[in-house]
Amino acid sequence: MSATIPQYRILIVDDEPNIVLAIEFLMKQAGYEVAKAYNGLEALEKVNEFKPHLIILDVMMPHMDGFEVARTLRQDDSYFNTKIIFLTAQGTDRDMAKGYGSGGDIYLTKPFDNKELTTIVQEITEYELN
């Protein structure tokens, strides 16, 4: 779990600064390059700017929710391969279906397990890099 893949970029989007703070710490610890956004609109701006390989995306946010962000990204071919992990407090089957339908790759519910999140991110990146 050392910083071995410096080119891999992760965007963290959540309206809760404390959650962003925790995830940022975990991802940096795992050696990723991190950017942060606190709502949907900001997230879209950051995506263009930062070109992340992976987005950890909250669902319920002011201005534009996570599903909307994902759908917008998927319409743009340049972000077709960007991985999206939904991280949300809403964990019903319907919410998950909505998440996958809007273009998410993984759906995790809050509160999450630090190791699980890190492992998933690592597995995705290893698969991508191979």
Binding site: M60, P62, D65, P111, N114
Partner: protein, 920 residues
């Protein structure tokens, strides 16, 4: 004239009556009925004209003018109505085998033996004076004919018991009636001989009266014109027939006389007997309605001429006017004519006495004696014996008893009081049947209790206002009662009940008795409900024409009975031979064979009941039949099914309508409740979702951060401090959320505690605002405050009001623009209200969510609209607090143009007690 001559003539006449009766019965046996004829029917109705008509009308006309006509005008006027009333009564009576008016009323009101008995008693009491009048007429005319010279002195001196011919007349008439009327017990066929004899007598009395009328008019005087012109020269007579109406001729008195005579022609027991029981064809009524009035016209045509002639012939003795009919021929030496007149009077009396006593004896035995015997089970014990002969004995005894009582009444009656109105006393008594009978055939709502109440009260009032007075011995007591009332109570004066004065005695009695009778009948009927049997009988009587055809086929008795029992029962009351005939006829008609040990069907039971009813009355018959039928009387439902399908259906559909109405209302309520439930369910789900989310968010960061601290032992101190600091804040956030939820719940359920004091909103707003100054500075938010110098105090809960201000301010901080934030807080007094305005310049609220912004969690249901931080309960709690202070809160906002919240708190409305804090 010698007494034996008169006696021989009298007995010859009576013998000829037998002859007529015998002939009629013979013809009937040959199948040529004499009485199945509308003319005979109309003549038999003329039994209405008694000795009272024959002698009394002339007497009345001689002393009171044309008043006598009232009791003939009544029936004449009402005759057309017979098509409606009499015909219906006849049809009902045929279908129910009714044989007296007592039976009719009893039958109508659920075959009630109480009613039958009551009607019988009323009828006997009412008719006895009337019969006594006939006895007097016969005995007086007999004496006049045999000892005319001593007549006037005899009347004045009174009579000794044995010298009184009336006693012998009573005995002879009694015996004659017994021979006439009690040959058959039951009345399946009609008393053909009786009816023929009565019709014959009607002809005799009419001819006799016309003869004397012609004699007076054309032999004593020179025709009508001569008679009248001579009469008008007599001052008394001139005044009587020309002056303005005397007191007894006032229109109201005429009205009452007409009314009671209308009732009498139908409800006098003898009239009911000839008009209904002996009727052979209901359609005969159609002819009778003009034939009978014609008869009345003929028999009255010479009344006034004879009266005037009498007054001119006997100017000194107007008191004997009742006997002018007889005196005029006698005085002129026309003995043969006098004898004919005597026979005419005899015929008028005998026909009345015979028919009346037969009718009363049937009523008395069927409705009084047999029910009592059945109750005391004398008859039941002697089960094996044929008791038809015993019943016959009872009837004969009743006939003799009635005549003896009539005689006793006659001889005890003060001879100088109210003699003329004896007949009218009976009329008023009999008129008491009118409400029960007429109500019974036209109004289904009339019931047994109403009929009993009406009859009883009417009877009591009648008894008090009429016979009671006539039986009072002359003297001081009588005068005092008449003048001052019973026991000196003024309202109980027999001639002025309740102080009603100015009516003559008969009108007064008629008015009061019928008033209380009808009133009680209607009132009690409306207040009480009928039994099943009453209900079905009521329906049958009122709707007889519709039901007549179907009635026969409908089962009334649902039970089972053995032929053996039925046969025994019939044999006991009708005799074995008659029973055999009845059963054989029935079997032949139906084409079936009857076996003794077999059960019989309801039709035969009905048939048997009717046969029995013909002999002993409906109530008793029902009682007896029910003793052999192995089942209780018909239940309500069955009777309804049998007789009352339309009514049942109507009621059913009404019920159905009601039910569906109720259902509709219930389902509306249910729908409402359901919608409310759904709404509440949705609110609950929203609540759960929100609370879950709100709990998960801090828990997420707490878990992530503590895990980091836990997993990284070498984490630098600053980071560790920062992370744990966040954890502590997030824990506080959770506690806050939980407190808010509890708080809201308390406020909603009314359990919140309120600490009411005088509070200064200026102080609250300014101190709360200064507490957020720090965070504003941190986030670069400009806070603009606008307060007056002072503001009135209000009553309220300080901490809650701080909570309101805090909620609004922290929302404003949360939502105001991130870069150039600006919050404006304004406090002012406007229109007796304290207004607090909090404005921000942030993202604002979508139009759609505005109406729901203060609803608990509602602002979160539309997730896409973007969700404010915090529990989501803040505004809901704020709304509640403001409203509990009798204030209001509103919001104005445009998307991306900020929001402004306005709180208004009233100055005057003081909050007295927390218990009044109820908010919808």
């Amino acid at each position: 004239m010698r007494a034996w001559v008169v006696l021989i003539v009298s007995f010859s006449y009576l013998a000829s009556l037998f002859g007529v009766a015998y002939w009629a019965d013979k013809m009937r046996a040959k199948g040529k009925s004499l009485i199945r004829n509308p003319i005979v029917y109309a003549l038999s109705l003329a039994v209405y004209c008694t000795a009272w008509t024959f002698y009394g009308s002339v007497g009345r006309a001689a002393t009171h003018g044309i008043e006598f006509l009232a009791i003939y005008i009544g029936p004449t006027l009402s005759a057309p109505l017979w098509i409606l009333i009499l015909r219906k009564i006849i049809v009902i009576s045929r279908s129910q085998r009714i044989n007296s008016i007592a039976d009719f009323i009893s039958s109508r009101y659920g075959k009630s033996s109480t009613l039958g008995g009551l009607v019988t008693i009323i009828a006997i009491v009412a008719i006895i004076p009337y019969i006594s009048l006939q006895l007097k007429a016969v005995s007086t005319s007999f004496e006049l004919l045999t000892q005319q010279n001593s007549f006037v002195t005899k009347v004045l001196n009174g009579e000794s018991f044995f010298a009184d011919k009336a006693f012998y007349v009573a005995v002879i008439l009694g015996l004659f009636t017994i021979f006439f009327g009690t040959r058959h017990l039951e009345a399946p066929e009609h008393h053909e001989g009786l009816v023929a004899a009565v019709a014959f007598e009607s002809i005799v009395k009419l001819l006799a009266f016309l003869a004397v009328g012609i004699f007076v008019c054309f032999f004593l005087f020179d025709g009508f014109g001569d008679l009248f012109s001579q009469a008008m020269e007599v001052p008394d007579l001139h005044e009587m027939y020309n002056s303005s109406p005397s007191s007894s001729l006032r229109p109201w008195n005429w009205f009452w006389l007409n009314l009671i005579s209308m009732f009498a022609i139908l409800f006098l027991p003898r009239q009911f007997h000839v008009a209904v029981v002996e009727n052979t064809n209901p359609n005969h009524v159609k002819k009778a309605i003009w034939l009978f009035p014609l008869y009345l016209l003929l028999i009255n045509i010479f009344v006034i001429p004879i009266a005037l002639g009498g007054r001119m012939f006997f100017p000194a003795t107007p008191g004997i006017a009742d006997t002018y009919v007889l005196q005029l021929p006698l005085e002129n030496g026309q003995n043969l004519l006098a004898l004919l007149v005597y026979i005419g009077g005899l015929s008028a009396s005998t026909s009345m006495v015979i028919v009346a006593t037969i009718a009363l004896s049937i009523m008395a035995s069927n409705n009084l004696i047999v029910p009592i015997l059945l109750r005391t089970s004398i008859i039941k014990e002697s089960f094996e014996r044929d008791i038809s002969s015993r019943l016959m004995g009872i009837r004969r005894l009743v006939i003799i008893s009635i005549l003896m009582i009539a005689y006793a009444y006659f001889s005890s009656l003060g001879q100088n009081r109210s003699l003329v109105s004896i007949g009218l006393i009976s009329f008023v008594g009999v008129a008491q049947f009118a409400p029960s009978v007429l109500g019974g055939i036209f109004w289904r709502g009339g019931n047994r209790k109403g009929a009993i109440a009406g009859l009883l009260l009417g009877f009591i009032v009648w008894g008090f206002t009429l016979p009671f007075v006539s039986l009072l011995p002359d003297g001081a007591t009588a005068d005092s009662i008449l003048e001052n009332g019973v026991f000196g109570w003024g309202i109980f004066r027999p001639y002025a009940l309740m102080g009603l004065e100015g009516m003559d005695q008969i009108s007064h009695a008629t008015f009061w008795s019928l008033f209380v009778n009808l009133g009680a009948y209607v009132f009690v009927s409306l207040l009480t409900s009928p039994s099943a049997l009453e209900h079905s009988q009521a329906n049958l009587f009122v709707n007889i024409y519709q039901l007549e055809r179907t009635y026969q086929e409908k089962p009334i008795w649902k039970g089972k009975a053995y032929l053996f029992d039925i046969e025994n029962l019939l044999a006991r009351f009708l005799g074995p031979r008659r029973t055999e005939t009845i059963l054989n006829q029935y079997a032949a008609e139906k084409g079936i064979k009857l076996t003794k040990t077999k059960e019989v069907d309801f039709e035969l039971i009905n048939h048997a009941e009717k046969q029995l009813a013909g002999a002993i009355g409906a109530a008793s018959a029902r009682l007896l039949i029910s003793s052999v039928v192995k089942e209780e009387p018909p239940k309500l439902r069955e009777v309804m099914e049998a007789l009352d399908e339309t009514h049942q259906l109507m009621r059913y559909s009404k019920e159905l309508e009601q039910k569906s109405d109720e259902l509709r209302r219930a389902s509306e309520k249910l729908q409402l409740a359901n919608a409310r439930l759904k709404e509440m369910d949705k609110l609950k789900n929203d609540f759960l979702t929100t609370v879950t989310h709100e709990l998960r968010t801090p828990i997420t960061s707490i878990r992530a951060l503590t895990t980091i601290v836990h997993d990284n032992k070498d984490l630098d101190e600053a980071k560790r401090h920062e992370f744990l600091g966040i954890v502590i804040k997030e824990c506080e956030r959770i506690s806050r959320l939980i407190n808010q939820v509890l708080d809201l719940e308390k406020m909603e359920s009314g359990h919140a505690e309120w600490n009411l004091t005088e509070v200064d909103m200026l102080e609250i707003v300014s101190s709360t605002a200064s507490s957020i100054k720090g965070i504003c500075k941190e986030r670069n938010i400009k806070l603009i405050e606008n307060y007056p110098d002072s503001i009135p105090l209000i009553i309220g809960d300080r901490d809650r009001l701080v909570q309101v201000v805090m909620n609004l301010l922290s929302n404003a901080v949360k939502f105001c623009d991130h870069e150039k934030g600006e919050i404006k807080v304004t406090l002012e007094l406007k229109e007796e209200k304290i207004q607090l305005m909090v404005q921000d310049n942030g993202i604002g609220l979508k139009k759609e969510v505005l109406p729901y912004i203060f609803d608990k969690f509602s602002q979160f249901t539309d997730l896409k609209s973007g969700r404010p931080h915090g529990s989501g309960l803040g505004l809901s709690i704020t709304w509640r607090i403001v409203h509990l202070h009798k204030g209001s809160i509103s919001v104005e906002s445009k998307e991306n143009h900020g929001a402004s919240f306005l709180v208004e708190l009233p100055l005057e409305k003081k909050i007295k007690s927390p218990s009044r804090f109820s908010v919808p």
